[in-house]
Structure formats: structure tokens, C-alpha cells
């Protein structure tokens, strides 16, 4: 056959195969890193059994997608469900997922360890002895549901709404539980965010109204990371692969990290500044751009709220852009490279070199800060704010290679029921002292209760382990063991944790492959929706079974939270008289409880543009499509939404004020995307804020009070923080000037790439890789103390001390010490995770607490032969117990860095020892409380909080008003 004919024959074969929806060319593995099973063979995929080697034994699998739950990134997973045993054999990446594109980090495949963990909790448990005594009896779901529902019903009917609280760490869902709480009419949402990302959120929100960056790393020319983002953090796997793509294309990477992390090793510029000085360096770079006219002038003129700044701050100056530029130059003139060098210890010439690289980025400048320096320092929110300042100077906002506001790259589909806002304000989460807190003051709960600000009737935790995670864990133990403060504590958890030991009920909920959720995250400039599902439920339904409840397919009596909340809601209001039941009711079958199939089926059918059509192409319903592929990309390349012209139909009886804010009488068009966006106040005549006028045209703008990027935050100025109304540098609580000469900074928040907060003690592969947290210490520092690697040292905080082993390394800034997160897990008895928790004894007298390790990890017999192969005993040290609370007076973020004294351990000190005085914790709490500017005193309008600021569960507007007679607050 001639070559021409052969060519035609191949083309025809390809066309014919692809027309059948099948794969002709398997993805070349050299292009896509890994080759994936073609979609058409997901129902019956054959692989050789590796354990049978050298025999060639075939195993047949059904590949069922779900979403990883081992960090927030929500990467796609494919479960390989054995068709014979109907058990999951392994998890790999889902190539259909637009965020992770088939790739995963170590934590994804380790989901297998979590579902087969021999120590997992399989049945609902009820406390038998005293709280914390460690005695449990198995109970039934019915008993637990009825008991809890009755308590909540009583609290609601007795108008004790604020005594019901749900406290969540990693939500892993988009607003499901917030809506449950709204349905109950309680303002009971509490999150972990103030020990996590509130600070960075504040920095971003004051600029653009939205509290999270969405960097388009893949297309950037310069990437600026203040974190170890290439290896940890959110959304590190989707981001890391895109950062590396950009690097391969010649992008320059700048990393600020006190440690020589794996991220730092990939950087073109690695800078290890004095912790807390990051904003000073960034401002010196901003100043360089400003003084040398290297900023994007047109962008700044069009999109900054400079007119408002001049009008309010310099009313005597004529409002021209040229005058603003002069002011700008003056404002930042003192942030020289030399100033930054003096603050940070980084050489001025290095900073200058970096500034010059930043200046070359143009609008392809992607930057990212999420925790790291922002979460470590008081005033750390200025780190994110100053970093984004560079984007706004370069015009790299929602541009290719720039940074987008998250909400534009995210899709939250409208659900079947949307309850209204609760008519109550919970001061246990949103205290008056912190009117600008980005999130609930969650980690202050024990102190607020001790203050006498209230009590809790029913308290839920989910994916949250405050005794271990939060600072000041012993104050949490004191709170949890006091039944007059917490009436009933329900831990919703698949696995034991330090907080669950003090619960009244432990209700086991499924892992990532055993539950339903939907997600959408801003991993790049697109909008996608990911679906988490119980993979065995889907597998069995594909085999023809009808599954009524996820409980029927999960191991033991493990349930999932979606179905649990719907059932609990139903039982709180069984006859519907409270008006609550309707939110858990089927629309298809009135009078019956909503099922997860109907809940998600409705969303995929009605609220996800393009999904029904896409599903129809494969003769599937939208729900079937999502169950089959696990993800759907709604839109690519969203672009600069702020530049979009507001369409005619939204402009009716328009008024434009002196700063260009445009208001319209036209109603807001309905949107299926209900992603949280700030609500900006209407004008005095009730017109809706619709956009901003820029050069005579009305454009969408930003969801900020000015409609523009807020270089100047009138909100901050009005609420008592005038000195911080523009991006500036705040000296940290661990600034050398705020520490004694013999103190040093402890960095306690960095993560290990293979661990999952406190949720990986049940993942044997991960535990084997990383199971301890020595204290990083520079050689010069160690020499001064006479310490060598492996020696015990005592680290003294404001409230106590911990004993840990030193690890001497050149990979850290001299004079700073660091100890990683995740480690030092403990249990009080055999109940617990035996792979990764030490058995400890707690000593308690008055306010004095001690923790001493009795036994480390050791091999044990179980249904998993690997538990006999545990070779490590060391599981690290629980340093967080020794940290007092440090709430930033503005963002509300716990400022993690600690000023500590490090010295050689004393005779009698043992590895892992902890000693804390909670009376001292209390003093530190009161000291930081005194730094606040409470709403009672500083509110400009008699409200508790600026209405436009985001709040996870927003109550109705009338409860924003402060009570006429100030209620007594505070401890004194």
C-alpha cells in the first residue's frame, strides 16, 4: 500500500474510533507525565495484580471519580474499585479534573490508608464516665439524632439560638452547612479561619473586596511567593504544576521563606528575611516602582480609588491624578532599600535586584501569600496587602499571568433550598472588640466563655481538633470539661483526635471517598465544579443496586454529613411547625426527606451552565455525568470582569456620585453562581450599586465600597484605624524591638508536604515518611548554645515550655528557630491512632498543666499487617499547647510566631514534655484584648461590623445594629 493510502487509512480509523467516543491515540506518557486509562474503559479496566508477580493475574476494576479531601485544593481522584470484592484497591489522579489534571501529591493516594485504617471509628459512640475519662459505649444513630435534635429544638424554642454552634476546620464543601444553620435560624457558624488565613484574607479584601487571590501562575513572567507554596498550602498541587510550567518558559521565581524549603530551592531569588519584616521589603519594591515611574500609570489612574483618597485625606489639594502621583511618591519615599535591609537583614543590593526583576513583569506578575508571614505576625495582614499592592501598581490584576479575585474563578451553584439570613448575632464568635475580624474569633472561645459572655447548649466540631490545632489547647480542655459551659459536645469525626476525647458523642463521618460534596476553587483562570462522592455507592449503583443511604455502603455505621444534617434538621422540626423542616424536604416528593440524589441532581440540572448539554451528548443525566467524571469545567478564561461594561438592561434611572460609583434602579439579574460577593450599600434613594464610571463608561468594577481597587480603605479609617488606611508596614509582635535580648523567633506553622494538619495520623504511608518535628536551628546558633543535632532543648514561651530535639542546619536564617506543624499527636489511652500518637499522661493542678509522654508509637497487631512493621517511636512534640492566644486587633488572626527562649534541656527534662500555666494564658489574652478598638467605641454608624465585609454566615441586616444599651462585655 502506498504511503498516501496508508495515511488515509489511519485518518479514517481515527475518525471512526473517535466518533464512537473512544480513544484512538492513548495519551503519550512523555507529554502528560502519566498515561490514564481511557474513559470508555472506566467501567471495566484490567490491570495485572502486582502482588501476583511473576504470575500474570488480571484484576478488573471500575474507576469511580471522587475528590480528594486531604487539603483544600480538591484535586480529582479516581478510585479503582475491584469488581469482585467491591473494595477500593487504590486511588490515582482523575485526568478529567480541570484543576489537578490527573496529578496528585502524596496525600491523595494515601486516602486508601484512611479508609482501611484499623483504628478508625466505625460506630456512633456515647460517653460513659466523666467527660474526658475515656469511657465509651456504642450507641445508635437514632438515639444520638433524637437526643441532639431535642436539645437543639429546645434551645431554638426557648430563644437560646446562640447556644447552638457548629465549629469547622476544613469545610470541604461550598456552603452546605452554613445553609443548614441558616435554616435553623442560628448564627452558629464557627470556623478555623482565624488560625489559618484571616490575615491574608484581610489584606486582599481591603484591596479588591474579595478575600482570596487567584494567581494565573502558568502565564506569569515573574512569580512572587511569600510562602513555601510549591510544596504545601492551598492550592499547591494545582498551582505547583502551573508554576513549574511558567518556570520552564523562563519565568523568574522569587521566594521569601525563612527556611530553605523545597520551594526556596526552586527559586531564582530566595530571600530569608527576619520574620515579620516581609512587608517592609515589599514596600521598598513598591517604592522603587513608584519613584522610578515604573508602574502602570493608566491602570492606576483608571482603577485605584485615588480620587476618594485625595478628597478625604487632602481636601485642600486639587483632585488630579498628577497631584495623587506626587502624594504617592511622598507617602512611600521612606521605604528605601536601605530601610528594608535594616528591618529584614537582607542586603539592599539583593532587594534592589529583585525590584528590578519585578519591574520587568508588566501585567504578567503573579503573587501569592496565604499563611506564612501573614499568619505569623501581628499586622501580618499587611504582608498580603503590600504584596497585592505590587500587582495593582503593575496592573497585573485579572490579566493573563496576573492575579484574579477568587470569586471570578469560582462557581458556587445555587442549591435547591436557600434559607434566609438568621435574625440573631452571636457574640461568642463575632465579638464587639473585633468589628473588622475577617472570620469568627474561634480560637478565643474558651476565653469568651470564661469571660461569662455566654454558654453553649450544643457544640459540634467537624474536621476540627482545637485542643491540638489551636494555641492554648489546655484552655480548651478546661472549657470542654466544664459542663456548665458546654452542655453537649458532639464530635463529627472519622478518626480519633485530641478534642474528641472530651466529647459526649462521637459520630463517625466518612472520609473523602465516602461522602458527597461539591467544590469549586480558583486554581487558575477558569471556573470548574468538582464532585465528591462515596465511590462504593456509585460502584454498587453501576452494578444495578439501589442505595438509599451512604451509611449502607460505608464501613461499619460510618455515615456522611450531608445526609446527617438533612436527617437532623428533619428531626428538629418533625411536624414542620418551626418552619425548619421545609429546608430538608423533597420537592419531588413533598412530605419526605430530601435525598442526596435529588439535592445534587437539582443543582447539576438547574444551576450549572452547560452541564446538562454536555451530559446529553453522552446520553447521561447531569447527575450521572458528574458521578461518572467527577468534574466539569464551566468556563475557561474569565478575564478582567472589572473592565466589562454594565449592559443597558441593568442601567435604569442611573445616578453616578462624585467618585464615579454608579447606582441603578434595575433589579439584580438572577445568576446560578452564588459565590459570596460583598454587598455594597445602595445610595440614599435605594438604588443598587451597579458599577463604576471610568472615563465616561460604566463598568463592573470591584465589589468594594468605592467600586475600585482600594488603595485607600475608608472602612479602616472610619472604624478607628486611620493609620492603616493605606498599605503600610506594621512592626510585628516578634520584631526585635518587641523582644528581649535573649529571645528568638520560633516559626511554628510550616508544613510538611506529606502531612495533613491533624488528619494524617491514620495514613501509614505518610506517617512512615514524616513523623517528627525537630527544632531547626542554624549552626552558629547551635554552637552558641553548645547544642548538637539530637540534643534535647527547652523552648520557653510566654506561658510554659516544651522539650524537643535540635536539628542543626544551615537551611534557616541564623537566630531564628523553626518547628513544623502536624506533629506531637497524643492519646490518653489505647483509644486513638496508634500509628502516630504517643500515649501521654496529663498532670493538672489549678491552672498548672503538664503533659508527659509515657510511650511512643510501636508495632501492634491489627487487620493490617503493616502495623506490625511500625519502626518509629518518635511522633514529635505538641508545641501548640505552649502558645498563648495572639489575636490581631484588626484581622482577628492568631499571630503564630512566638518570641521564645531556647536553652539546653534541664536534668529531668524528657523528650516531649509540656508545661503550661493557663493563668498566664489568660493574662496574654487580656493584654491582646486591650489592643482592640471595639465597635462600641469606634463604630462610625452604630453597627457591629461594616456590612460589606464578607462573613461566612451573614445574619440579617437589622442585627448588625449595636444594642441601644451596651451590654457588659469583657472580663472586667
Amino acid at each position: 500500500m502506498s504511503l498516501k493510502k496508508l495515511n488515509e487509512r489511519v485518518s479514517a480509523a481515527r475518525k471512526e474510533t473517535e466518533a464512537r467516543g473512544e480513544t484512538f491515540y492513548p495519551g503519550p506518557s512523555r507529554i502528560h507525565l502519566a498515561a490514564f486509562p481511557p474513559k470508555e474503559r472506566w467501567d471495566d479496566w484490567v490491570e495485572l495484580d502486582s502482588r501476583a508477580w511473576p504470575r500474570r493475574e488480571e484484576r478488573r476494576y471500575m474507576l469511580v471519580p471522587t475528590t480528594c479531601f486531604n487539603c483544600e485544593s480538591a484535586c480529582g481522584l479516581l478510585a479503582y474499585v475491584d469488581r469482585e470484592s467491591l473494595q477500593v484497591q487504590k486511588f490515582e489522579g482523575n485526568p478529567e479534573h480541570p484543576g489537578s489534571r490527573g496529578r496528585n501529591c502524596a496525600k491523595g493516594p494515601a486516602t486508601l490508608n484512611q479508609i482501611t485504617d484499623p483504628d478508625r471509628i466505625l460506630f456512633p459512640l456515647k460517653r460513659a464516665g466523666r467527660r474526658g475519662e475515656g469511657k465509651w459505649v456504642q450507641t445508635t444513630w437514632d438515639e444520638a439524632l433524637d437526643h441532639i435534635a431535642a436539645r437543639i429544638r429546645k434551645a431554638i424554642t426557648e430563644d437560646r439560638h446562640n447556644e447552638v454552634m457548629y465549629h469547622v476546620g476544613r469545610p470541604g464543601e461550598d456552603g452546605f452547612t452554613e445553609r443548614v444553620l441558616a435554616a435553623w435560624g442560628v448564627d452558629g457558624h464557627n470556623s478555623h479561619t482565624n488560625v489559618c488565613s484571616s490575615s491574608a484574607r484581610a489584606g486582599y479584601q481591603y484591596w479588591m473586596g474579595l478575600d482570596r487571590p487567584s494567581p494565573d501562575h502558568a502565564n506569569a513572567r515573574v512569580i512572587f511567593l511569600i510562602s513555601s507554596h510549591l510544596e504545601t498550602g492551598h492550592y499547591f498541587n494545582p498551582h505547583a504544576q502551573r508554576i513549574i510550567e511558567a518556570k520552564a518558559e523562563g519565568a523568574k521565581i522569587i521566594v521569601f521563606d525563612t527556611r530553605l524549603s523545597n520551594t526556596a530551592t526552586h527559586a531564582d531569588f530566595w530571600v530569608a528575611p527576619q520574620p515579620g519584616s516581609e512587608a517592609a521589603i515589599v514596600l521598598s519594591i513598591a517604592n522603587y516602582l513608584i519613584q522610578h515611574d515604573l508602574y502602570n500609570r493608566e491602570f492606576v489612574r483608571r482603577w485605584w480609588n485615588w480620587e476618594e483618597f485625595l478628597a478625604v485625606e487632602q481636601p485642600e489639594t486639587e483632585t488630579t491624578f498628577e497631584n495623587f502621583e506626587l502624594s504617592l511618591k511622598k507617602l512611600y519615599a521612606d521605604y528605601t532599600f536601605e530601610f528594608a535591609a535594616a528591618e529584614s537583614g537582607v542586603e539592599a543590593t539583593v532587594i534592589e535586584e529583585i525590584a528590578k526583576v519585578v519591574a520587568t513583569a508588566g501585567t504578567r506578575f503573579s503573587s501569592h501569600n496565604w499563611r506564612s508571614a501573614a499568619a505569623g505576625n501581628s499586622g501580618g495582614w499587611q504582608v498580603a496587602r503590600t504584596l497585592f499592592f505590587l500587582n495593582t501598581l503593575l496592573g497585573a490584576v485579572a490579566t493573563e499571568g496576573g492575579v484574579y479575585p477568587n470569586a471570578w474563578n469560582k462557581f458556587v451553584p445555587k442549591p435547591i433550598h436557600v434559607p434566609g439570613h438568621p435574625h440573631t448575632w452571636n457574640e461568642l464568635t463575632w465579638a464587639r472588640e473585633y468589628p473588622l475580624a475577617m472570620n469568627e474569633l474561634s480560637f478565643l472561645l474558651p476565653h469568651f466563655l470564661k469571660d461569662g459572655r455566654g454558654k453553649l447548649d450544643t457544640y459540634f466540631t467537624r474536621v476540627y481538633n482545637p485542643v491540638w490545632t489551636n494555641p492554648d489547647g489546655f484552655s480548651w480542655v478546661e472549657m470542654l470539661t466544664d459542663e456548665s459551659l458546654i452542655g453537649c459536645y458532639v464530635a463529627l469525626t472519622p478518626t480519633w483526635n485530641e478534642t474528641s476525647y472530651f466529647a459526649d458523642y462521637i459520630l463517625p463521618m466518612g472520609h473523602g471517598s465516602e461522602r458527597h460534596d461539591i467544590h469549586s476553587y480558583e486554581t487558575h483562570d477558569a471556573q470548574w465544579l468538582g464532585f465528591r462522592q462515596p465511590v462504593l455507592r456509585e460502584a454498587r449503583e453501576r452494578m444495578g443496586e439501589k442505595i438509599g443511604s451512604t451509611r449502607d455502603v460505608n464501613p461499619g455505621e460510618v455515615w456522611e454529613v450531608n445526609e446527617f444534617w438533612l436527617e437532623l434538621t428533619w428531626r428538629i422540626d418533625p411536624d414542620g411547625s418551626l418552619g425548619i423542616r421545609s429546608f430538608a424536604e423533597s420537592k419531588e416528593r413533598p412530605g419526605e426527606r430530601l435525598t442526596v440524589d435529588e439535592y445534587y441532581g437539582y443543582i447539576f440540572e438547574n444551576s450549572v451552565p452547560g452541564l446538562p448539554e454536555r451530559a446529553a451528548e453522552e446520553n447521561l443525566t447531569p447527575l450521572e455525568f458528574m458521578r461518572r467524571y467527577g468534574a466539569f469545567e464551566i468556563k475557561k478564561k474569565i478575564g478582567a470582569v472589572y473592565e466589562e461594561l454594565v449592559p443597558e438592561e441593568e442601567l435604569e434611572d442611573v445616578r453616578v456620585d462624585r467618585f464615579g460609583r454608579a447606582y441603578s434602579r434595575a433589579a439584580k439579574p438572577a445568576s446560578p453562581n452564588v459565590v459570596p460577593i460583598p454587598t455594597i450599600d445602595p445610595d440614599a434613594e435605594g438604588r443598587r450599586f451597579v458599577g463604576v464610571q471610568v472615563d465616561a463608561e460604566i463598568r463592573r468594577g470591584f465589589p468594594t465600597p468605592s467600586g475600585r481597587l482600594e488603595f485607600y480603605s475608608k472602612t479602616l479609617a472610619d472604624w478607628g484605624w486611620h493609620e492603616y488606611a493605606v498599605p503600610t508596614y506594621i512592626r510585628s509582635h516578634v520584631h526585635p524591638a518587641n523582644m528581649a535580648d535573649d529571645q528568638t523567633v520560633l516559626i511554628s506553622t510550616f508544613r510538611l508536604p506529606v502531612q495533613i494538619h491533624t488528619r494524617s495520623a491514620n495514613a501509614k504511608w505518610l506517617d512512615e515518611i514524616a513523623h517528627t518535628n525537630p527544632l531547626w536551628m542554624h549552626n552558629s546558633h547551635a554552637a552558641r548554645l553548645g547544642v548538637r543535632t539530637g540534643d534535647l532543648v527547652r523552648v520557653e514561651t510566654e506561658t510554659g515550655y516544651f522539650v524537643v530535639r535540635a536539628w542543626v542546619t544551615e537551611g534557616i536564617k541564623p537566630g531564628v528557630v523553626a518547628c513544623s506543624h502536624h506533629m506531637g499527636r497524643w492519646k490518653l489511652s489505647e483509644a486513638g491512632q496508634r500509628q502516630m500518637m504517643a500515649t501521654v499522661k496529663l498532670d493538672h493542678e489549678g491552672t498548672q498543666w503538664g503533659l508527659r509522654r509515657e510511650r511512643g508509637a510501636q508495632p501492634y497487631e491489627s487487620n493490617d499487617a503493616d502495623t506490625q512493621r511500625i519502626w518509629w517511636t518518635d511522633v514529635g512534640v505538641h508545641q501548640n499547647l505552649t502558645f498563648p492566644v495572639h489575636p490581631d486587633p484588626i484581622s482577628g488572626q492568631h499571630c503564630w510566631h512566638q518570641a521564645v527562649r531556647v536553652r539546653r534541656a534541664e536534668a529531668g527534662d524528657r523528650y516531649g514534655d509540656i508545661s503550661v500555666d493557663t493563668a498566664k494564658s489568660r493574662e496574654v489574652y487580656l493584654k491582646w484584648l486591650a489592643m482592640t478598638r471595639p465597635a462600641d467605641e469606634f463604630s462610625p454608624d452604630g453597627t457591629r461590623r461594616p456590612y460589606w465585609l464578607l462573613r461566612p454566615l451573614k445574619p440579617s441586616r437589622e442585627v448588625y445594629r449595636l444594642p441601644e444599651q451596651p451590654e457588659p462585655v469583657g472580663a472586667d
Binding site: V10, R14, F24, Y25, I31
Partner: protein, 296 residues
Amino acid sequence: MELFRALACLVEPPRTESARVADALGLGALPLADEYTKTFVFQLYPYASVYLGAEGMLGGEARDRVAGFWRALGLVPPAEADHLSVMLALYARLCELEEDANDARAREGWRAARKAFLWEHLLSWLPAYLSKLEEIATDFYRRWGALLKDALAAEALTVGQQESLALHLREAPGLVDPREGSTEDFLRSLLAPARSGIILVRADFSRAARELDAGTRLGERRFVLQTLFEQDARGVLSWLGQEAERWAARLRLERASFGAVARAWEAKAESTSRLLAELKATLEEDSRAGEEFADA
């Protein structure tokens, strides 16, 4: 051009889907994965850099050169830009871009890119590579190689002869003369086809050991060659000399289809053969001198 894409897909480990492609090409049933491994993982590494780089190893400047071609086209190069499957797939794409171009100018531009890629990055090594494949492969891959060679020859005719030999072929350094450098460097340069003009795979050394009645030791090719050399330097030089001559003769057959490229490879092999003959002579002379010295 679909043909090249289909050929590209078969220089990856065989998978169920590849059977359809092999069938469309009329190549018959797919071999088992171990045959792929034997051919491409243990013997003839399908990477341009191995045959065009001065080190004769994976990656380095030779790979960067291929990656640079992707970049020049405004494409992001894959991690292994010089893998044959990726290169053939790119060539297929270039043909399509030329075909689909809207105007004559764009078409000319894509034609120029296609021609440059063909001569500089594919034909600069594939005639020699495929010739070796024909020698060592079993049926399926021999048929595959023959088809690829035919297709490449047809392409060479279609796009026309190149104006000048690729720079990296013209400027490739020659062998290291062990009388000037070290023996180790000499052996290493022998294993770099860009310098020696000959391709020596593991199977060749097993054959050499059999023919010389020497022992082989397990290890990388340089190590194997070195241990052979230590056992019987004269024999190995002689064996290599014959191999170089035989190889030059094989390359002569490619002249008709691949012109100057084949001649450049042939010339290198001939010069290797000459050097080996000289070395053998020197060695014999030295050893005679040694014997005379001993006699005295």
C-alpha cells in the same frame, strides 16, 4: 500527517489502544511490553540527544536544541522534547499546520519549519538509528522501523534536499585519541554516535565477547567495553575496526535517500575505522618493542 502520529504512538510502550493503530498501519499484532523494553529501554534509546549530543547521553545541549525548536514555534516543550514519539508527533502537527494554513505566506512559513525540523532534528540521526534497529529488532519493530524509514524518505523527497548540513552535525567533535587523552575518554567517545559515527548497543558487546572469547561483566556500556578492553585490547580494537567498516558500508546504502546526512555519518564511521586501525598498529608496535626489550 496522521501517518507520523500513528508511528509516534508505537514508540511508546504498547497498550490496548495501540493495537488499533498498529492494525491501521498494517503492522500486525502488537508485541508484548517486554519486547518494547528489550528494544527501546535496553538497546536503542529513542532519544535524539543520545545520537546527536557530544556526550552520547540523554538530555543536555542536544535535547535543549530540540526544545528550542518548540519554543521558536511559540509552543511549550514537553519534559522530554527529544523523545522520538514526541518528535514524530510534532512533525505530524507541522505538516497539518502547513496544510491548514490560510494563505500562501503562512503555508510557506510552516513548510520552512517542517523542512528544518525534518532535516535538522529527525534525519540528522534517524537513518543511522533505523539502520541499527533493523539489525537488532524483532519482527514488529523491524516492520515499524522500515515503514518509518520509507515515510521519512518520502518526506525528504517532498520537502527537497536541505541547503546545508545541520550545524550540530558539521561541528560535532571527533573521537578522543587515547594517545593524547585518556583511554577512558576514548572509550566514552566511541559510545557517542555523534563523535564516532557508529551506534554500539549492549547486544553488540555480547557479540564481541562471544567472538573474542572474553568474559562480559554487567554494567553500563562504557563499563562493559572497558572490561573487554582490559582483557584483550588488541582483539577489541580489531573487532571495533571491523564493526566501523561494516557500519560505514551500511550507511553507504542510505546515501540515495538521505544524501549529505548519510555521507556525514559515513565519513565519521570511516574516520573511526582509520583511528582504530592506527591504534591497533601502534599497540602491535609497542608490544613488539616490549618483546625486544625483554629479549635484550
